[in-house]
């Protein structure tokens, strides 16, 4: 029996700093996805919301916020939080409901209205919260961690600032014609290298901004899809893995790693396990992938992802980039949407937006950024506190 579910419709609200309520972006995206699917809202049986923690109570119960805003229809509801991976948590819940036979039509929505500048921990004095403590005891912002990983790449593989800048240059070109992207301006290596250093070696143009935005997917059973559509794109694998003890790469928001002195390291590292989980469910490998959307929170991180999702061996990512393999027109374009580099991050919407982009790519509807012959795509993303997220989408 197939364990695929159908993506009948996708929709987004453009990313930006719009200054409006997050629910508005979610409703806009949801209506766009319903229109795209040709599904009436009243036929949706399950609403799965990706939560935002920066918009008060309505953000913590995002599923019902969107359900109420669209007009209560009696649908069952879930609201999920998994930091940057929230969107795929919401997708995973909806998919499981469909595969279990509890519903045929689900709506997955994530939206955020984000404050400017560094993400800060939620308010109050909370000295038992590692996310609070990392700011208080060492001023370790998110870009601090991005920089640790970037510097480590330089030390291990001889990566250069120009390599990192080249990722930004590539993505700025990819996103140039994406109507949903916030930053649509081509930049040069020199412009990237002339921008201010935020967390050495990373510069302002290499670190993703916080954004407003919304994304939604209408997910259905294959039986429902067969009745209501002739062609559709499928979700073939979803991974929401956590690390295996001991995890020895420093991750947000921790101030130390696990110790591997008594328990041996797992055979596969956490980051390597993320896409692997989705590949296994889909019955494919990285060699089958034609297009990928990965989480470039900073330029250098995109290079790590090439290796983590199996596009190349550790240390070969720079060569892949330089050879144009991951540029549109290359063998396996990465972040044809422009990535976080062109979007900025709208936390609970971002992982859903990755799936929306792959859907458009596989349908051949990614105007101005189309990856020719895209059939199988993979997303990769990671949320702090140990959230892996990856989806395999196929035509």
């Amino acid at each position: 029996m197939s364990r695929d579910v159908a993506i009948l419709g996708v929709g987004m609200h453009p990313w930006g700093k719009w200054g409006r309520n997050f629910a508005e972006y979610g409703v806009h995206a949801a209506q766009a996805a319903l229109d795209d699917a040709g599904v009436d809202w009243r036929d949706v049986q399950f609403v799965s919301g990706g939560d935002t923690i920066r918009n008060g109570y309505p953000g913590f119960i995002a599923g019902s916020t969107f359900a109420q805003a669209l007009g209560w229809n009696g649908a069952q509801v879930a609201s999920s939080y998994g930091a940057c991976a929230s969107g795929v948590q919401a997708l995973s819940v909806a998919r499981a409901q469909i595969l279990a036979g509890f519903c045929d039509v689900a709506l997955v929505v994530g939206a955020d209205a984000a404050p400017k500048g560094f993400f800060a921990p939620v308010g109050g004095e909370r000295p038992d919260d590692p996310d609070w403590l990392r700011f208080r005891l060492m001023g370790a912002t998110n870009p601090t961690y991005f920089a640790f990983w970037a510097r480590r790449r330089m030390a291990l593989y001889g990566s250069t600032s120009r390599d990192f800048a080249q990722v930004k240059v590539k993505n700025s070109r990819h996103g140039l014609h994406n109507p949903y992207a916030r930053f649509r301006k081509e930049v040069t290596i020199d412009e990237v290298l002339a921008s201010k250093v935020v967390a050495d070696p990373l510069r302002l143009l290499e670190i993703c901004a916080t954004s407003d935005g919304g994304a939604a997917i209408v997910l259905t059973s294959e039986a429902y899809a067969r009745k209501h559509a002739t062609k559709w794109v499928s979700v073939a694998g979803v991974s929401t893995v956590t690390p295996v003890f001991p995890s020895t790469v420093i991750e947000m928001p921790n101030m130390a790693t696990d110790s591997a002195a008594t328990v041996p390291l797992p055979p596969v590292s956490f980051r390597d396990s993320i896409a692997r989980g989705a590949y296994e469910q889909a019955g494919i490998g990285p060699e089958d992938v034609n297009v990928a959307e990965v989480y470039d929170l900073a330029s250098a991180l995109e290079l790590d992802w090439y290796e983590n999702i199996g596009l190349c061996e550790p240390g070969d990512a720079e060569k892949l980039l330089r050879d144009g393999v991951t540029t549109i027109g290359g063998r396996v374009p990465v972040n044809p949407s422009g990535g976080l580099s062109c979007f900025g991050e709208a936390v609970p919407a971002q992982a859903i937006a990755q799936v929306c982009e792959l859907t458009w790519q596989i349908r051949g509807q990614a105007e101005g950024r189309q990856v020719e012959g895209a059939k199988v795509g993979v997303t990769a993303n990671q949320g702090l506190f140990g959230h892996g997220s990856s989806v395999v989408v196929k035509g």
Binding site: F118, F135, M138, G139, A140, K196, P246, S259, T262
Partner: protein
Amino acid sequence: MSEPKTDKPRVPAVEGWFTMSEPPALLGTRCVQCSTIFFPRETVACRNPACRSTAFTDHELSRRGKLWSYTTAHYQPPPPFIADDPFVPYSIAVVELEAEKMTVLGQVPTSVPAESLVVGMEMELVIDRLYEDEQNEYVVWKWQPVASSATENGGAR
């Protein structure tokens, strides 16, 4: 940071995570059953998934390790970080402890030039000023290069 800027009492910015002795040490815990070490301190349940122990002893971590990675923060972080006015950029180190097979973060004293940091270099633990208020100077553990010029007037006292 070579000498206290004030005569205010030095108070740990977090209670029980490090010793103020000379030399100082990070204070973790060790599972009495499987011997796994935890820092920050784990005192509730062992996080080795194969171990069901709930008993721990105190464990001082290695005072030296190798620089795994680092960065220098050029923008002032948001609260609850308490920044000096004007803001002074600072480096943060990730240090790999050989015996514990783990890495631990820590700021680098601002007296250490960022240019002197090199991945792989030997680092040692010091106690140094984090911020101060009317009453106290609050201190925290930091990492600084061993045998650099910074060591002589370093934060270790």
